[in-house]
């Protein structure tokens, strides 16, 4: 057993995450230009090499000169492109370790995108095209056109790769069943196309189709993928559900999909929610008893003023609802707004953390994270934000005597 998996077993013994103000990332980092360009077959510029060299030195990536040699040999063949992706993962892990996080992954450097990566490894989907998420940000959207199944486990290779060189604890982020279903068109479970019958009948049939679709994805795609990871020794699996609150009337389906995915499996499961009215999750998630931690984005809704009063922390007023859940999960407290280049100061992070600890009355139940993945920020900005997050946690620990 290597160092990472030893630590993982220690961390999750007894199925809890009791570590006060534990810090971790939430998902994707931007892919470096050198990776994007070389992977696309574009010419590698001197600036790309310099970027790889500077970050390699800054992050103390072992043997990073070998990456520079690889890049100088571009264009790359398919085997070299796989090697390039492995370098990207090394950089991603070191990025998060160097900045000082307790639990890391690789910024999802192996994956195309959280939804596309899952769908690309599943049967029963066909791609339909790009759809806007916001502004100029688009995602590729597929339709479910047949029974869903797992073509091949789609995080095994990266997990095995990362635990070979990660020094910090690993947490595997996995896109959740509800989100995959919600972000897909359904051309299989609900196929009525014309406005026949009453709207109430259509709604009822549509809901039955939605339930069938969501359960199909949970049982036949997500669950077997989780089982494969657990078989390899993964202990902390984060189910990402940015789509979780999309339709408040489907919260029961969201909860059902989580439970169907994880029930009876031996690992720690957490979930990530972001950019929603979190009040909508209550009381629905009272039934998600296997969820040991909710990682939730709040900074996007908060003030940038310092202070630990309710007035100073408007983005965090909902956290008491997570505190009061009967199964006492930890809260992954989002303290970095991932939509802007604004660098939160350590003091601002500190105050957000202190506010949450005061509400929960237990620092063991507060973990500290960005709101979401930092993929839309440059590495410089992401690093500065995370660096200040770690510094802010240290300030909070000092204040709390931890």
């Amino acid at each position: 057993m290597n160092k990472a998996s030893e630590r993982a077993t220690t961390l999750t013994a007894g199925g809890d995450l009791n570590q006060p103000l534990l810090t971790h990332e939430l998902g994707s980092l931007a892919k470096p230009n050198w990776r994007v360009r070389a992977f696309a077959g574009s010419r590698i510029e001197e600036g790309d090499l310099e970027e790889a060299r500077l970050w390699g030195e800054r992050l103390e990536v072992p043997d990073h000169e070998q990456l520079l040699d690889l890049l100088r040999g571009a264009p790359l063949d398919s085997g070299q492109k796989e090697e390039l992706k492995r370098w990207s993962s090394r950089y991603g892990v070191r990025f998060l370790e160097k900045v000082g996080l307790d639990v890391v992954y690789d910024g999802e450097q192996q994956r195309s995108e959280m939804y596309a990566w899952s769908v690309a490894h599943a049967e029963g989907f066909d791609w339909r095209g790009s759809v806007r998420a916001f502004d100029n940000k688009y995602y590729s959207k597929a339709a479910v056109t047949g029974p869903v199944s797992l073509r091949e486990p789609f995080h095994n290779d990266e997990f095995e790769l990362l635990r070979g060189f990660a020094q910090a604890e690993l947490k595997v982020p996995i896109t959740g069943a509800y989100t995959i279903a919600d972000w897909s068109f359904d051309e299989h479970h609900f196929t009525d196309i014309d406005l026949a019958g009453s709207a109430a009948t259509r709604r009822s049939r549509r809901r039955a189709g939605r339930r069938s679709l969501i359960r199909d994805v949970a049982r036949n795609l997500i669950r077997p993928n989780l089982q494969a990871l657990i078989g390899l020794g993964a202990r902390w699996l984060q189910i990402d559900e940015p789509g979780g609150s999309t339709d408040p009337e489907e919260l029961d389906l969201f909860v059902e999909s989580f439970n169907e995915s994880v029930e009876g499996l031996e690992a720690v499961f957490s979930t990530h929610l972001c950019f929603s009215d979190y009040n909508l999750f209550f009381p629905g998630i009272e039934g998600m008893t296997e969820c040991k931690q909710y990682a939730v984005g709040f900074a996007n809704y908060d003030s940038r003023e310092l202070g630990v009063s309710d007035a100073a922390r408007p983005g965090y007023t909902v956290i008491s609802k997570f505190r009061d859940l009967p199964y006492r999960p930890a809260l992954g407290l989002g303290v970095l707004d991932i939509h802007t280049d604004f660098i939160e100061s350590p003091e601002l992070v500190r105050d957000r953390v202190l506010y949450a600890v005061d509400v929960f009355g237990d620092p063991n139940r507060i973990h500290v994270t960005p709101d979401c993945g930092l993929r839309t920020r440059s590495w410089d900005v992401a690093y500065s934000k995370l660096e200040n997050m770690v510094a802010g946690v240290e300030l909070a620990k000092q204040r709390l005597g931890l």
């Binding site: 759809v131 916001f134 100029n136 688009y138 014309d194």
Partner: protein, 322 residues
Amino acid sequence: MQISAYQHGIYPRSETVVAATRDLERNRTSSEEVERRFREDEENFVGVQREAGLDYFSDGLLRWQDLFRPLVDHSPAMRAQKLVRWFDNNSFFRAPEIGDLHSAGGIVPSVFALNGELPEPRVATLPSPYVFSRAARGQAADTDRDALMLDLARNVLASVAGSLAGSGYRVVHLQEPWLPFFGMEEGAWEPFEDALRTLKDEIAGRATLVLHLYYGDVGPHAERLRRLPVDAVGFDFVETDLESLGRDWEIGVLAGCLDGRRSLVESVEGTVAFARRVAEALNPPALYLSSTSDLELLPLEVARRKVLRLGEAIRRLKDDLP
């Protein structure tokens, strides 16, 4: 009964434009190149509408980042702020933060890309004053949203609608998803009617005002809706039962029949059959056929097929109905 069809709202961008805007943000292409790609998309959308034989032309609002953005960006009194989920979709808009609209003066942004080049007659899409006031943030929104609704109608939307009506736009189509999705407080109906009247008066005799209600069931509001000061009310018939709307409307009706959120394309026969039922039951002076909501949430190829299907349906319907 006057029967016509048009495609309202934001139309999806091509993969080429999506890639170009992404590349621009990463300094991998020029703004001139992005502009060229947008123009191609706009011309293609006009071509699709022409091929479909639609009665009014839209530029597809392809450059709009969301329903409010061009208006917000052109006003010194408004800013596009936090990302907020667009109803129950995996799509987000930036909530308009609104300051003092009185001091900002009327704004008439050039929000319709093709302007002189867009074939006539034209249809313009704008946010309804109700959804605008409810989606907004900031002091004006926190203080009195109904007053804000009236301010938005008078100081923002009326000047834009008036300008459009004077330049070849024969239909001003207001998008209103808030009312169907969240409902409306009892006290807000009167200011809502005043706001709509402001817009209708502004374009009277020059353009038709259509209020389109989507993303929810508005059957319970039918009696109020049929008395609103607009030329036509639009329905999302995926959500609203035709039977809940009563009979014999004295204002026009837009039948949203093609689902703007599903990739399966409706049949011509089913669409025509339903439109015929609308015509028979509501017997409006004008019947418009369209999609339930913008096609923005569909990939371009699916949206294109829906527009063409809309064209097939309206041709058949015109043949069938007197």
